[in-house]
Each structure stands twice: as C-alpha cells, then as structure tokens.
C-alpha cells in the first residue's frame, strides 16, 4: 500500500486564523506522503495554530484545504481523525487510572454485549505497543504508574491505531529519554515509508535535521520558507526563525564574583537528594546539571522550603548565617526566589491578567492598608513588561494567552520586583524559542551583575556551558562533582551525570537518563 513518494496528501492555501489579531496569515503549504516536514519557528509564530487548523481543533478564518484531492474542512478533531488526520499533542490525554490497553482502545474497546473481551484487548494492545517499542511493558499496567516518557509513547501508540494519512507531532520529545527518542524516530521512519505525511513540530534543530526531509519555518504567523532541509545548517535555520544573527557565544558583560552568599550543607530528602553541599557566591551563575530524575528539581524545592528536608542546613548572607526555611513564605522572606520548572502548574495563574500575576507576591508594594491601588499595580506590570520585553496586548491580558517565553518572563518579572538575593531557576528556558532564550540569558547576566547569587538547573548542557561560571553535576541524588568554567568538557560533565547510576542499570531507572547535548 505504498503511496508514491512526494505525492501531495494535504494542501493548504491561503490559510489564516484571526482571533482579535491575526495569528496566522496566508499560509500555503503542501504535505507530501512519505515525507517528514519539520515545522519550526519561535513560540507564538503560529506553529500550534497551523497544526490545530489541520487537525480540526480550530476553524480557519481564511483559506482552503485539499485532502487527498477533496475539499477538507474538518469541524472537529473527531472528524479529522476519522478521515485519517491525527495529531499527537504536547499535553498527555491519558487516563492515569486506566490500564495502558484500556487507554489505547478507549474509543473502541473490544467487547461482546458490553462485556470487555480482556483477551482480545490485551492482544490488540500488545500489537500496538510493539509498534512503538513498548514491548517490555505489561498492557495491564495503569498508565499513572508509568514514567512520563513511557506515557508519551503510549499517547503516540494510540494515535497510530487506525487509518492515518497525516500525522502531526507537537514537540514529541520534550519529555522523552534518549532511548525513547530513538524509538520514536525509528517509528516515524517506518510510518514515512508507509507513505504517511508527517509534520514534526520542534525547536530542537538537531532533531529536525535528523528526522525531516523538508523544513517549513514560520515567523510572526507567516511562512518564511518550505524547502529541503539539507540546504540549511543550524545557524541559518536559527536566523530564519528569529530573523537575526545569534552567536554561539554571548557576552554576559563584566561581573565581579564576590564572597559566598548561599551555602548549602548536607541537604537530604529520602533517596531523591542525598547529602548535597555547595556554595554560590555573589554575582555568580551556578549551574546544576544531571540526568532527569537525578534530584535537581527536588534540590531546588528543598532550598526554597517547598518540601521539607530530612536533614541539612541552608545558610544565607555575607557571611552566610544558617536560616530556617520551612516554607516558601520563609524562603521569600529570607530573600530566595524560585522560578519553577512547571510554570503553568506551579508558577502562574493562567486565567488571570499579566498585572495580577506580576503583582502576586508583591501585593504589599501596590496596596495600602490591604487595599489595592489599581494604578500602582498597572505601573508595576508596565514596568516589567517594558523591562522584560514581554510581548502582550495590555497588562490586562490573560497570561494563558501568551507564548511560553513571555509567560516565563512574567514569572521572572514577579521576582525581580522583590529584590531577592538568591534566585533559583529550574529549567528557565524549557519550551521557549531561541530568541526568548537569549533574552532570558541576558537577564540572568544582568541579575548576576547586580551581585545576586543565581542557581540554574537545566537539561540543556550547552546552555549551562554557555552561561554558567561553575557547573555542579547531580547523579542519583548526590552531587558528584563541581566544575569551573574553562575546566570542563562536555564529556566530563556527561560522565559525572552517569556516575551515580553505575551500580544499577541506568536505563531501567524510571526516569531514564537524557541529556540534550
């Protein structure tokens, strides 16, 4: 059933979407069978909107689509799926209390008179799971017991069931381990050979170059190019996305690194964080590297008092004196800020305005005797919108409508108002486009220049090597080693990251290792 390669499966012409402002305008593009099309661009460039229009989640304002020669205007996701146009979403749409098999076949459970045929269900599920290399998992496992990476593979497996001519992946590897990424790419290749037209949305240029044949770049809602991917190198692609040159090196400006400001001594919690000690000096950017599950996020949460430590001590100030931090409230009072990894779940009030989000935690400054001063609040928001270059319609715009990078700037802006001495950043650039990343790096440098102590956790090793003065490597909850700038190599850092796992099989570890470098 091989479709001749390069036959157009889906053609969109003049496609546009306007909410209150146009977010996508006049996009003309062909999806070809047996081809992987990389779709990339900065956050807010319109990638998600375009894929939502194709997969029936949104209705276009202008333009037409032709699907296998027929006019195509899906009114819903279900209709698009019935026709064979599917999308693997970034968010997981799984029911954690049901088993893998039940999740896979939820819309079509094999049954007789309403009784589920367990045997048949297991057979079908086993076959579907084998397709994505999940053979090792029992189909009767509740999905909630799987790690995030495996859950994502289940989600992908679910979309491969049934007729499928167009398959869109929206940032599919954000949570996958290296081994799972390989599996996914193998699967994508197999689908491509079967003649499926694949759209692969990602920021990770190396992945795009590995998996795609053609690349389409969106910028500000417009299609900038749609051409064979070999024509471009990484740097050219970044330039296409942001429309300006970005170097591999950034100038973080003149900084003076002073005396220790934050001292962590023997911090432990269960087997997640074990006896971790380090010092961060004023004006220093201190990176924490490690594999997923090494205890990086847990460590930051302990320092911030979001979780209670079993043992250990945090000391602050110049010279550092021991402080008791048993809650985020105490941490903030002591001058520590945490910018969380999960900004939607833990950082922001998505349905609230930008000004309400920036003012949260600073309400004392914009109120008198408990009564809010609306003008002061708006000024505060406008100050941060200007300083952080937050792209928004107005301070009253809901944060949920902003792109990832701008959302992150809102969270950071909140803390800048508080003048904390120690700032803990957990994956500050996750899910953020290249342009915004460099804005954030610039901001980190600015904070360091002001003499603050910065701790930055990141899965992107190159990012840490770009911005940090020192990098500590966590592995299986322990701090293995700390490296100074100019005394590290990528290989050394990676070796340290694996050091704690050598006694067990690291790949069997639930959140198996992944390094984006």
């Amino acid at each position: 059933m091989s479709v001749p390669a390069n036959e157009t499966v889906l053609a969109v012409s003049g496609l546009g979407k306007t909410y209150a402002q146009p977010v996508l305008g006049d996009v003309t593009l062909e999806l070809r069978g047996g081809e992987v099309l990389a779709l990339t661009g900065e956050n807010g460039a319109g990638k998600s909107t375009l894929s939502k229009l194709i997969s029936g989640l949104e209705i276009p304002t202008t333009g037409q689509m032709l699907y296998r020669g027929q006019p195509y205007a899906p009114g819903s996701r279900a209709e698009a799926e019935r026709l064979g146009v599917r999308m693997v979403m970034q968010e997981l749409n799984l029911l954690p209390t049901l088993t893998v098999a039940e999740n896979l076949f939820l819309d079509n459970l094999p049954s007789r008179l309403g009784w589920i045929s367990q045997k048949r269900l297991r057979q079908l599920a086993t076959a579907a799971m084998a397709q994505v290399g999940l053979d090792a998992i029992d189909p009767d496992t509740p999905v909630g017991e799987l790690g995030i990476g495996h859950q994502q593979m289940v989600e992908i497996a679910r979309n491969l069931i049934g007729d499928c001519h167009v398959l869109i992946f929206d940032e599919p590897t954000a949570m996958l381990t290296a081994r799972e990424v390989d599996l996914l790419f193998t699967q994508i290749e197999r689908l491509r050979q079967r003649g499926v037209a694949i759209v692969y949305i990602s920021h990770r240029l190396e992945e795009l170059q590995q998996v795609a044949q053609r690349i389409a770049v969106l910028r500000d809602g417009k299609l900038v190019c749609a051409e064979p991917i070999q024509r471009y190198n990484s740097e050219q692609l970044v330039n296409l996305m942001v429309g300006r040159e970005l170097g591999e090196h950034i100038d973080l400006g003149q900084r003076t690194i002073g005396a220790p400001l934050l001292k962590i001594d023997g911090l432990s919690r269960g087997d997640k964080v074990r006896e971790v000690s380090f010092e961060v000096r004023a004006g220093e950017i201190f990176g924490i590297s490690g594999l997923i599950g090494a205890g990086r996020t847990e460590l930051l949460r302990l320092i911030y008092g979001a979780d209670r430590a079993d043992s250990g001590q945090v000391a602050l100030g110049q010279p550092p004196v021991p402080v008791t931090i048993d809650s985020p409230k105490a941490a903030v009072k002591a001058g520590i800020a945490l910018i969380t990894e999960d900004r939607k779940g833990e950082g922001l009030l998505l349905s609230q305005s930008i000004s309400a989000n920036i003012a949260l935690g600073n309400l004392g400054a914009v109120s008198r005797a408990g009564v809010l001063d609306a003008d002061a609040e708006r000024e505060l928001a406008e100050r941060q919108i200007g300083a952080m270059r937050i792209r928004s319609a107005s301070p009253a715009q809901a944060v949920g409508e902003l792109s990832g990078g701008n959302q992150q700037k809102v969270v950071i802006g909140r803390w800048l108002e508080r003048d904390c001495q120690v700032l803990l950043f957990d994956e500050p650039t996750r899910g953020i486009d290249v342009g915004a990343k460099f804005d954030i790096y610039g901001l980190l440098a600015e904070l360091a220049r002001q003499g603050k102590a910065l701790v930055v956790v990141s899965s992107d090793l190159r990012e840490l090597m770009l911005i940090c003065d020192r990098i500590a490597v966590l592995s299986a909850g322990r701090l293995i080693d700390t490296f100074d700038r100019d005394h590290w190599t990528q290989d050394q850092l990676l070796a340290a990251a694996f050091a704690g796992y050598q006694k067990r099989d690291a790949l069997l570890h639930d959140a198996a290792p992944r390094m984006d470098a």
């Binding site: 985020p328 009030l349 305005s353 309400a356 949260l360 708006r378 107005s394 009253a396």
Partner: protein, 330 residues
C-alpha cells in the same frame, strides 16, 4: 460609561477572577426583568408594593449567606453546613436570652461567635488535613444541627420582639436587615476586587500551588474564608430570629442548597477562581423572585420545586456555554 482604566475593550482576552463584564450583569438583570414581566402578566397582584416589600424583608438572610458562599466557592471550597450553623447560632441566642437572662446585644454577639467558631472548625480541618471541604462541612452540618436541638430541647424557643427592629420597615417598606445585607454585599465586593485579601482568594482558587510558591501561605486565608462564612451565618440567624420572633432548631434546613444555587446562578464558578458578589446578588434576586412569583400564581409546592430546579440547571448551562465560548480563543 464607566470602565476601569486597565481593561481595554479591544484586548482579545478571556478575563476571569473578579472581572464580570457589564454583559454578565446586563444578562442577569435582563433575566430578572423578564421574570418580573412574566409574573406580572400571569398574576395581576404580582407587580405591587406588597410583593416587593415582603420580598425585601425575606431575603436578607439568603443575601448574607450567599455572600459568604461566594467567597467559599471562589477559593474552590464549598460549605454545606451553613443552614445548620444558622440554626446553631439561633439556638445559642435563645439559650443566652431565655436560659441565662442575657440582654440582646451580648446574646447576639455570642450567637455570631459560635457560628464563627463552627466555620473556623470547618476551615481548619479542611486545611490541616487537606480534606475536601465538602466532606468536612457535611460532618459539621450534622454536628451543628445536633447541638441546635440539644440547646433548645428540640423545641422552637419564643424570644419575643427583642430583635424586631431588624425587620420592621423603616422607609419604603425596607427594613434595617435589608440595608445591612446590602452593605455586606457592597463591602464584600470591594474586599474581593480591591484588597490584597480578595486577590489572594482569587489566586488560591485559580492555582493554590502557584500562590504558595509565590511565597504566600494560603492556609490562613482559607480558614478565614470559612470563619467569615460562619459569621455571616450568625448574622442570618439574627435576621431570622427577628422575623420569626423565635429561634427554631429546624431553621435553615436545606438552605445550603438554595444558597449555593443563588451563587451559581450568579455565575460564580464551582471550580474556584472566579466570582462576583454583585452577580451573586442577582442570583439571590432571581431565585427569590421566582419563588415569590410562583407562589403568587398559585403554583403547587411540587411545581415550584420542579421549576426552580430547572431554572438552576438552565442558568448553569447558559453560564458554562458562555464561558466556553470565551475560552475557545485559547
């Protein structure tokens, strides 16, 4: 037209929190007006001074309870105990006056304090053990009712006209109780929209973890909301005593559902994070006018309940439809 400076009409935003656009209020007012017109056509007696004066004197207890419930729903909680706590407060007042010979003011304060305590208990248990307030308040509902029976020996206690001034009309058929309830509404709306406390409540209802990680301990605020609910149930108890000249241990039975219905009809979200006291007031008026109108046209008790139930469901369906349409932009 009066608009706040930070809400530009051109901005394509889905607003939430305390922002209930003029459209929401106009819609609720329109629904209310339509009901009044309908009942006026169906009954020649409906559109009269007597009807509205009676209404104004009957609803103050519902009004203040609904204000408290609006706050509780905004933080993502629910309080089923309000009717029982009302009865507990009333019984306490009767014991203080009849049993111990206290005068009116200390007895009234004691009643409100007991109600506040009941609310604080609900809030503290909810917060301390992270139990859904639904279950905790269900338990408190039973306990408060039991105590009310115990205090009064399960009999209605006649207190007399000591509280009568509350519900005696002073002008245009309006009583001090109604005026107090109106003041409570205005004050609560200001607290919700203009104070740090109100902002925290909206934040807690939207994303409690985000509030906690922003360095704010949400727990005292949550307890305070339940305590406030208790105080307002105590106030509602005083209104009832003044109207009935008695403390009835059966008072407020089932009233929690009426209160929740009024708040939800107003458009406050059961999921938390979104609410307005003004629209709650419209909800109270809608549900009260409906009850009064149905009584006037001679609807039977079963018919009244069926129609009231249908109105609640329709109101929630309309509100959900409206907010979905608004959020589809995301």
């Amino acid at each position: 037209m009066k608009t706040t400076t930070n809400t530009s009409d051109a901005a394509p935003v889905r607003r939430s929190g305390t922002y209930f656009g003029l459209g929401t209020y106009l819609g609720l007012a329109g629904a209310l007006l339509a009901m009044i017109v309908l009942f006026s056509l169906l009954s020649s007696h409906f559109l009269s001074y007597a009807t509205f004066s009676t209404l104004a004197n009957q609803i103050p207890d519902l009004m203040v309870l609904a204000v408290g419930m609006t706050f509780v729903l905004i933080i993502g909680g629910i309080d089923l105990s309000v009717g029982s706590v009302l009865a507990l407060a009333a019984s306490t007042v009767s014991v203080a006056i009849l049993g111990w010979g206290w005068s009116v003011l200390p007895a009234a304060l004691l009643g409100m304090a007991v109600a506040a305590l009941a609310g604080t208990v609900t809030g503290s248990i909810t917060v301390a053990w992270r139990i859904p307030s639904f279950i905790v308040s269900l338990g408190v509902l039973e306990m408060a009712r039991g105590l009310a029976y115990q205090f009064t020996d399960s009999r209605t206690a006649y207190i007399g006209d000591a509280f009568a001034w509350f519900s005696n009309p002073i002008a245009f058929g309006i009583s001090p109780a109604f005026i107090i309830a109106l003041l409570v509404i205005v004050l609560a709306q200001l607290v919700l929209t203009r104070t740090v406390f109100g902002r925290y409540l909206i934040g807690i209802g939207t994303n409690e973890e985000a509030v906690r990680l922003a360095g704010i301990d949400p727990r005292p605020f949550k307890i305070l909301v339940f305590a406030l609910m208790g105080v307002l149930a105590g106030l509602a108890a005083l209104f009832q005593i003044s109207r009935l000249e008695a403390a009835d241990p059966n008072a407020g039975s089932g009233m929690e559902l009426q209160v929740i219905a009024a708040v939800v009809i107003g458009g406050t979200s059961l999921m938390g994070g979104r609410g307005s006291v003004i629209s709650t007031f419209f909800g109270v008026l809608i549900i009260s006018v409906l009850a009064a109108g149905l009584a006037q046209i001679g609807a039977s008790e079963p018919t009244k309940r069926i129609i009231t139930g249908a109105v609640i469901v329709i109101a929630v369906v309309l509100d959900t439809y409206r907010s979905r349409r608004a959020s589809r932009r995301n």
